[in-house]
């Protein structure tokens, strides 16, 4: 069970985050839920690179050759964290704009003016 728990948590967070996006009545809330869904990929990436008993891949105090976790997933997740945050910032700016034009943050009420 322990061998699968992190994957289960990742899948759960992805679906819960998407549930929040789909049912949200407030754009800012939806954006935060999206960042929860995004965080599932951090867990997934770090989990597949984790090696039990490994140290951090920093060989300042330990010699090279010491069992260490995968440094690549660390680098990938770093990128992922930045991307997630910047997309959220952009989305928040769009949400502020939407409020300005429509007077609401409720996605249900952001109705298009039909042609």
């Amino acid at each position: 069970m322990m061998g699968f728990l992190p994957y289960l948590v990742a899948a759960w967070l992805l679906l819960v985050g998407l549930y929040g996006v789909v049912t949200s009545r407030n754009l800012v809330h939806a954006i935060t839920c999206l960042s929860v869904a995004q965080s599932s990929t951090y867990i997934l990436l770090l989990s597949v690179g984790f090696e039990r008993g490994g140290t951090a891949p920093i060989f300042l105090d330990v010699p090279v050759g010491t069992k260490a976790v995968d440094p690549v997933v660390g680098a990938l997740t770093l990128t992922d964290v930045v991307v997630g945050a910047t997309v959220s910032a952009l989305l928040l700016a769009l949400a502020v704009q939407a409020y300005k034009h429509h007077g609401t943050l409720d996605p249900e009420r952001l109705k298009p003016e039909r042609d």
């Binding site: 998407l18 954006i31 995004q38 690179g49 990938l76």
Partner: protein, 601 residues
Amino acid sequence: MDALPALPVAVPLLVAAALVGLAPVCPRRVADAIALAAAAGVTVLCLLLLARSFDAPVVYWFGDWTPREGIALGVAFAIDPVGAALATLAGVLATAALTFSWRIFEAVRTLHHGLMLVFLAGIVGFCLSGDLFNMFVFYELFSVAAYALAGYQTTDPGSVRGALNFALTNSVGAIFVLAGIALLYGRTGALNLAQLGQSLATGPADRLVVVAFLLLMVGFFVKAAVVPFHFWLADAYALAPTVVGVIFAGVVSELGLYAVARVYWTVFSAPLAGVEGLTGVLLVGAVATALLGGVMCVLQHHLARMLAYATVSHVGLTLAGFALLSPAGAAGAVLYLVTDGLVKGALFITVGIVDHHLRDIDERRLQGRGRHLLWAGALLVVGAFGLAGAPPFGTFLGKALMEEAALEAGHPWLIGLFVVVAALTSAALLRATGRVFLGLGPRQGPAPRGPDEAAVRHPHVHATQVAPAVLLLAAALAIGLAPGLTEAVQKAGDHFSDRPAYAAAVLEGAGEHGPAAPRPPPHLAGPALWALVSGLGGLGLALVALFPDRLPGDLRGRLARASGPAAAALRGLHAGQIGDSVTWLVVGMAGFGAMLALVTR
């Protein structure tokens, strides 16, 4: 070692940063010129790469990290003619768009140019990369730029809603892509496409491989706007400023398809080779996309929205070519994709001109108001034939190749799909042209508001606005007439789908391709006939729409009764609600996943 492969990404990024940094001191015209020169430079660099990649893929290891014993330590660009052609298309469209915006778009800022160049660099990097995670990074790069560009037109409140829907839905797609990457990495410990392919080639198509393919496919299908992942597209594309819409409609959706095809051929083609039903699964998506897009296109009155749905339907057609999973299908799809992109770019620019000069973009309100812009109407008609795949446009040749591949693969009915869809999209465009520029058809909606003041104030149409549209159409024609093109495209398709050769080139630095297998030239008589049928069909449909009173009365009534509720339901489904697009995304993932699980069982 020359730096050519890195330059089409590095140059626009550097120029973008410089433009933004120097924004306060840089006169607007200078900034315009620099951005335009950078986009044109990227185009030239991509063309050089295209020419070079025909003999052997250009493999470029960043940081000089060549692989060791088949293990890639760094990131490589692995450039083949397909990727280079798409990158070139993006460069051409960006150059055209920036030329078009020279006179229009007065509110433009240097920051906007910087964003455009980052957008272009992201697309180019995405097309050239040979590393899955690096593809993801460039994918996010052009996506983030695209979200901002889509929502920039602050005068149109709809554009903000469109951009939000665009950004949220596509971000979910990106999460799926990344999850797929994580699954593959957990299995193989590799990110390089060639190495991933080698690693999976020795194993079966088990659950991990299937689900990883599903996640990547769904994620990229969101960008491609394959049904049911398409709900975000119309608002984002149609309400974005013209200068951005040109690139969106011309190349961005197609990038999603390119990615699925690229990842399939380099990574999954060995384990999934024996899966009988895979083509069927992809064709379900292709048919649904082509037909729904075509019908929605006919239902639109907003010209840019019409083009947006034409994009959706033609994504379906292109997917049909890739779905055959044969080198010939891929070759046809790529040729179709590139030439179709040129035509759509030209059409988007023409619609932008109409919008700029008539201050409106609704076919019903514009009825007869385009009489003094007849040449724009002519451009739209020419473009409509290009869209329909009429000879001698390059779209015709691409479609002919796809049709031949469909016959080879035992799916002759696909020809019917091509005919119907081409008829639908060209009909919508011809109907709108007839109404706007000739004043044909019964009046619908509000009556026009007297003499058009806006047009009086803007009598002059600048050459910088018209020339890009004309040149893009000319390019689509020239490609169709280029000698030796078919052989070159077939060769590109062969290389695109040759996984072992790709892996050898990337991981072992293997040199030139072997001689291409000789192939008979495609039969063009049949496709020409089909193109004629769909052209006439489109014209006929357009005439029916414009002159409904010429139909026998009972037929007209029956048509109206049958189509009215269906059209209303379709429109309601496409209301552009954010929660809806994400819900449909999950529905699509479940549907495609169930189908994949069934056929790989």
